[in-house]
């Protein structure tokens, strides 16, 4: 066994952790306020694509910001539908996912090569040279954001308001809190984090866009949220676990000997997700009003 292989595995794990963690933290904030957004997968997909276009136009930082902006726009539309217009959150989320699949496949064809678009090297986010090798700066962002989110949710007045709105919107309403606006802000902010994660996929990690670049990460992030029980620190732990198994799959495929067919290796992250989620469910508790549109009596 070569140490370089192990180091490689660790490095890919850290990179794979970023999108899952960021998306999961965003969703934790949104779910704390009571909105369940299963459109995360679609947000990742669209922001990966549009973020890559932004990076080509104005450099990697612009690309990441554009990705965040796109995430915010989708999150805003989603939350307006699900708060003020009392829409069904599941259906709106499914719609976002369908829309994203079509939109990105369509856009990729429009750019020339169907299904694949390379991000030029100068538009990719530069990696930091560390003793562990080249690491994306967003790894450090993803390591810090969960702690900030934890502080925000547990230690600030705004965090408490989010919780009140998710647990008991009627009481929050009576206390003078604007339930819809609070949910809208929380979900839009959460979607911005998902947008950042999406842009990271294309601009900061793969250096290309494919029509399946998100590869279920949005749903794995949802699984991470379940695992975390809405605790951002556990969200980071979940991100590390799922990131590790994703990169384990990638890593096994690069081994010179092919121990198992690649199709079975590619199943690994999804099987692990199922196992982990079925292991923790029942122990965690979610906000009472999660997924329910708020209607004043």
């Amino acid at each position: 066994m070569n140490w370089n292989y192990v180091l490689d595995l660790l490095r890919i794990s850290l990179h794979a952790m970023v999108p899952i963690t960021l998306t999961a933290i965003g969703e934790i904030i949104g779910e704390t306020a009571g909105l369940f957004n299963i459109g995360l997968e679609g947000i990742l997909l669209i922001s990966a694509f549009v973020g890559a276009l932004g990076a080509k136009a104005g450099g990697p930082v612009v690309g990441l910001l554009v990705g965040m902006g796109v995430g915010m726009v989708i999150g805003f539309v989603f939350s307006v539908i699900c708060t003020y217009w009392k829409g069904t959150q599941m259906i709106a989320g499914i719609g976002i996912n369908l829309f994203a699949m079509g939109f990105v496949a369509f856009g990729l064809i429009k750019l020339g090569a169907p299904g694949f678009h390379a991000v030029p090297a100068e538009a990719q986010l530069a990696k930091l040279q560390t003793p562990m090798g080249a690491l994306s700066p967003l790894i450090f962002v993803a390591l810090v954001v969960p702690f900030l989110a934890h502080w925000f949710l547990r230690r600030t007045r705004a965090g408490l308001i989010l919780k009140a709105v998710g647990e008991n919107p009627e009481a929050a309403d009576v206390a003078g809190i604007n339930v819809h606006l609070t949910r809208l802000l929380a979900t839009t902010f959460g979607a911005a984090l998902a947008g950042l994660a999406g842009a990271y996929l294309s601009v900061g990690w793969f250096g290309s866009v494919t029509k399946e670049i998100s590869a279920g990460r949005g749903f794995i992030a949802l699984a991470t949220v379940v695992f975390s029980g809405l605790n951002p620190i556990l969200g980071l732990v979940g991100g590390l676990i799922f990131g590790f198994f994703q990169s384990l799959a990638t890593w096994i495929k690069t081994l010179p000997t092919k121990p198992i067919p690649w199709q079975f290796v590619d199943m690994l992250p999804y099987i692990v997700t199922l196992l982990v989620v079925s292991g923790v469910v029942g122990r965690v508790r979610f906000p009472k009003a999660l997924g329910e549109p708020y209607k004043r009596e």
């Binding site: 829409g87 069904t88 499914i94 719609g95 829309f99 496949a105 749903f219 999804y270 099987i271 989620v277």
Partner: protein, 382 residues
């Protein structure tokens, strides 16, 4: 205006209003479709296409003649099945996103009939049964995880979708592969294919299976005690449990029945859609049928009859999109169709979609105003 005139006018208006309220769901589906098409047009315009020409090509390709209509129905057939998968579970109070994966597995099972010989009709029936059973078995995974561990079905079905996708990739590449044609599986033999219904088109007898399954689901859900239990559990699980309904049973039943539907979608595609009668590597013929089915289900308001109509619309989008992508000097890619579907689903998420539009809302209010004035007149008259 005399009192009599006002009253008869009011009756007319009230009649119109009642009809409109009855048609409310239909109106909303139509409105969502229009909205989706508008979003698609806007995107096409932004990307530099001519939306009007594209939609014209799409429309002609979908409903422009008997051949086109037959292809639209043929494209709609698998969507009927996957839409029913989603709807059965929605009626039971769950969001089953697993039709995609269950359909893959069903298609792979249907292809297995190529390995033995049977008389024509029987061979087809055995293939249908294989697909239905495989789909049902695959759907039991998420159902059991939900029952035993309380795993949210949205997450588990998506994970099962990915697992089945790679499983079927593997089966296509190594197990069911045709020794002479490496890029696809063995072909379903003629004796196990759905006969073609309209010569020269893709439309086969699988459409009757789809309609029969839709009617079966309708009958089961609305005209049997079991269906009543399923729907009661979906509307209010707590009340249903107090009423002595076993929620576990309704969950298992709706998942299994949904799995049967998704498996049949796989069978209808591999055994009933010319010309390949096999699974091609990368699953191009199957990919996304499960997800598109959810759009059909929502537009059909999760009702079997509504689904039949919506499937005709979405089948038309798919068939017409195939014409659109080769039409003119600057053809619009087929993927546009899925953008439209997504926008439709997002619009369908909004209850009382009609009210979102101020113009319509204002006219409704004006109508209401007329009623109130009318009632006031009546009171004065009395």
């Amino acid at each position: 205006m005399t009192a009599h005139e006002a009253r008869s006018g009011g009756r007319l208006l009230r009649g119109a209003h009642r009809t409109l309220t009855g048609l409310h769901p239909v109106l909303e589906s139509v409105l969502a479709a229009v909205l989706g098409l508008l979003v698609g047009a806007l995107l096409m315009y932004i990307w530099g296409y001519d939306p009007w020409r594209a939609y014209w090509a799409l429309f002609r390709g979908a409903y422009g003649g008997s051949y086109e209509i037959a292809s639209s129905i043929a494209r709609g057939v698998p969507l009927i099945f996957t839409a029913l998968t989603f709807s059965i579970c929605v009626r039971a109070g769950m969001f089953n996103i697993g039709a995609e994966g269950q359909m893959y597995v069903g298609a792979a099972a249907a292809v297995c009939v190529a390995y033995f010989k049977l008389p024509p009709g029987l061979h087809l029936l055995v293939g249908i049964a294989f697909a239905a059973i495989a789909g049902a078995i695959w759907s039991l995974g998420p159902a059991l995880l939900k029952l035993t561990r309380g795993v949210n079905e949205v997450i588990s079905t998506i994970m099962f979708n990915w697992i089945s996708r790679f499983l079927v990739f593997y089966l296509v590449a190594y197990v069911l592969v045709d020794a002479r044609q490496g890029q696809r599986t063995v072909q379903v033999p003629v004796s196990a294919r759905f006969p073609i219904l309209v010569r020269g088109t893709d439309l086969s007898y699988s459409v009757f299976l789809a309609v029969a399954f839709a009617l079966f689901v309708y009958f089961l859900l609305w005209h049997t005690a079991t269906g009543y239990e399923v729907r009661a559990a979906g509307l209010n699980p707590t009340a249903a449990r107090y009423g002595g309904i076993s929620i576990n049973r309704t969950i298992l039943l709706s998942f299994a029945l949904g799995g049967v539907g998704a498996g049949l979608a796989g069978a209808a595609t591999t055994m009933g859609l010319p010309p390949t009668y096999a699974i091609i590597s990368g699953l191009p013929e199957l990919m996304n049928l499960g997800f598109d089915g959810m759009a059909v289900a929502m537009m059909g308001r999760n009702h079997p009859i509504g689904i039949l109509v919506a499937a005709l619309f979405f089948g038309g989008l798919n068939a017409g999109g195939r014409v659109m992508q080769f039409y003119g000097s600057n053809p619009v890619p087929l993927e546009m169709v899925r953008v439209v579907m997504g926008a439709i689903v997002i619009a369908m998420a909004i209850p009382e979609l009609v009210r979102v539009f101020p113009a319509i809302a204002r006219s409704v209010r004006r109508l209401g105003g007329v009623f109130r004035r009318d009632r006031a007149t009546e009171r004065e008259g009395a």
